[in-house]
Amino acid sequence: MTDETTANTLDYETFRKLLESLSAEQREIFRKLLRDVHDRGKAPTEADLDDLAKKYADIAKRLTSRRSAGT
């Protein structure tokens, strides 16, 4: 393996730090998003993408408004 590839390797610590840089709400969205996409077992269609995009936009908005409402 070359030095170049080593330098770009994602180690667990970096991965963990990246995830920790997200808020709890963002992590929740992140996990749901990946799980939803993964569970489909195939690349989403245009319509799927729109539905999912709307769904995650709604989740993000709801979480944001809940946070701003102090709950």
């Binding site: 393996m1 070359t2 170049e4 590839t5 080593t6 770009n8 390797t9 994602l10 180690d11 667990y12 970096t14 991965f15 990246l18 995830l19 840089s21 997200l22 808020s23 709400e25 963002q26 969205i29 992140f30 998003l33 990946l34 996409v37 993964h38 569970d39 489909r40 077992g41 195939k42 690349a43 989403p44 993408l49 729109d50 999912l52 995009a53 709307k54 995650y56 936009a57 709604d58 993000a60 908005k61 979480l63 944001t64 408004s65 946070r67 701003s68």
Partner: protein
Amino acid sequence: MKFTKLTIENWRSFYGRHEIAFARDAERNVTVLVGPNGSGKTALLNAFTWCLFEETTAGFRAAHDLFNHKALDEIAESEEAWMRVRLEFVHDNAEYTIERSQRGFRSSANAPAECSPPQFVATRKQDTTEEAITQDVLNQILPPGLHPFFFFPAENIGKEIQDEDTATLRMHMSRAIDVLLGIERYESALSIISRALNKHLKTPRGAKYNAVENAGHVAEASRTAWDKVRDKLKTLPQVIEQAQQHFNELDYALKRSDESAEIREQYSAARKEADDADEAILRLDTQQREEINRNCAVLFGHELFTNALDVLNKAHSEDLIPPKVTAGLLNELIETRAQCICDRALSDRERNILIALRDRTIDDRLADRATNLRARLPGLIHFNDTERLDRNLANAILANTDEITRYREARSAAEHRCEELLAKRPAIEHGNNLDIRPAWRKASERLEKLNLELETLKTKLPDLTRQKEGDESKYNAAIKKHEKGQSISGAREALTGIEKVLSEIQNGLKQSAKGDVERAMNAFFGPMLFKEYYISLKDDFNYQVQSSEKDGRPIGVSSSEIALATFAFVTAIAALMPAYSNLEQYYPADEQNSGVGNIEADMATAYPVVLDAPFSPFDETYAERFAKQLPDLVPQSILIVRGDQISHLDPIQHDGRIGAAYVFELHTAGEPTQQITFGGHRLDYVVKHTDSGSAYTRVTRVEV
């Protein structure tokens, strides 16, 4: 994973039902399928991809024309036939059966046969349990994005290398890594986030706070205007009531003032009459006095004093009458005044008489006569003093006196009338209507103005209410929009954060996986080569063949070596797939877990590879070497070869590595009959038929 059996029925050129049982034995793990051009070698490769994913390989001609034409033509009216592809395989101790089929039918004798949409049935049998599985479950075992490598049309490699245009292949390879790693889901997730940001989380227009402020100012102004009118409408009726009351009072006063005008005129007339009489009396009295004084001597003559003296003398001598005129009075007349009461100077004679008179006591009558000559005039006239009296003059004075008396009576009457009228003082004193009228008019105008204002405000209020409500509504809408904008802004921030992390993880995973793939490629590549070469994967997943002896510098390689590197990649995918098939292992390795970046490809558990025309890209030397090494490196391989290339299989046939072999017999009218020798058998290869129907293929098992 190992494929156990492929059943094809009326699939493309394959007429009827054919079964191909794959070699699965550890030593005899190669299945060979031999066929002439046009017999359906590529169609067989596509039987895998269509059955598993309803997809065909790039360049597969007439991808929607799958039902065997001969079988389709033979369908009679109201009958049906089936085209089926069934693939059976074992994976993780379970048996899978995947079948995709199409029904062919003819609705009328003259109508062409038609095909129904494909039907998919899949089952998994583990121990004694059998269950249906979905396409999604199948996709998790065999990602559809990887089918260009599990089912690899090697014929194209040669073309691409020859054309020096490997971009498509490189793209597929890079894509395969994405699929292998599940990068696709990161890409999909990023795509979803991108759509969410660009389509569903657009910051609404007018969401800025100054829009709220502006709307707030407008609403405030409307509310203030509305409040002002409402307050005015509350207070105005009271003001109007007061103004009305004031007007009523003035109106009453004005009416009363009009009524008293007549009395006032009467009073004025009586007053004038009294004043005129008074003036006349004064004039006549003055006139009379002046007349008497001017003519007193003429009027009374000297006899008056003589007679007075005589009377006084007599009274004095008889001592009968007490004197009334004192010596002092006479002294004043004689000494001080020295003139008559009419202001005429006394003559000497008159003076002497007065002196003589002073020496006597003057009685009352005389005194009266001396002091009130005018009063005496009637008496004098009556008592026959005509000789000493100017009668005409006296009568004139008397007449004058009568006139004065009349005037005095008239004045008295007028005064009396005035007093009577004054008894009606309130009416008279209520004021002059001329003074009241301007105030009345002013009050009337004010009242009218106030009432008009009230009506105007009443009319204005609904408009202002609507305006106020409209502006307040706009203000609330602006607040909501702003809040929505804030929420969207927050959501954008949340998703942008995820997007950044996803990108970094995606990139990190890909770079980490590069090491895994690179090692796996070299594990396959090394044993095949005659030289010490090393494959280096670049960031864009292009690979470079380097010499390990020359500090990794790129070296010139042959097209066979490049093709071998491509197969190395295919094999690497097949070998890494079992490890990467678990979602959790996509994550990077920690101390306990062997994850992406830390996975050594296990060739013993690698997925099977199906290679179409595997020897096409190689020269003789490498074709033989490839054939010889392949059974040791991949647990199961299925090779679809042309008849003119089966000689490359001789070494593994000799070594007993071929566990199953089939020949595709092409039945056609277009070519002469041919035979082929394979596995020591002489077999039909191309069969010329004489009917005019479509060409078709039959599959014949060859004992090896």
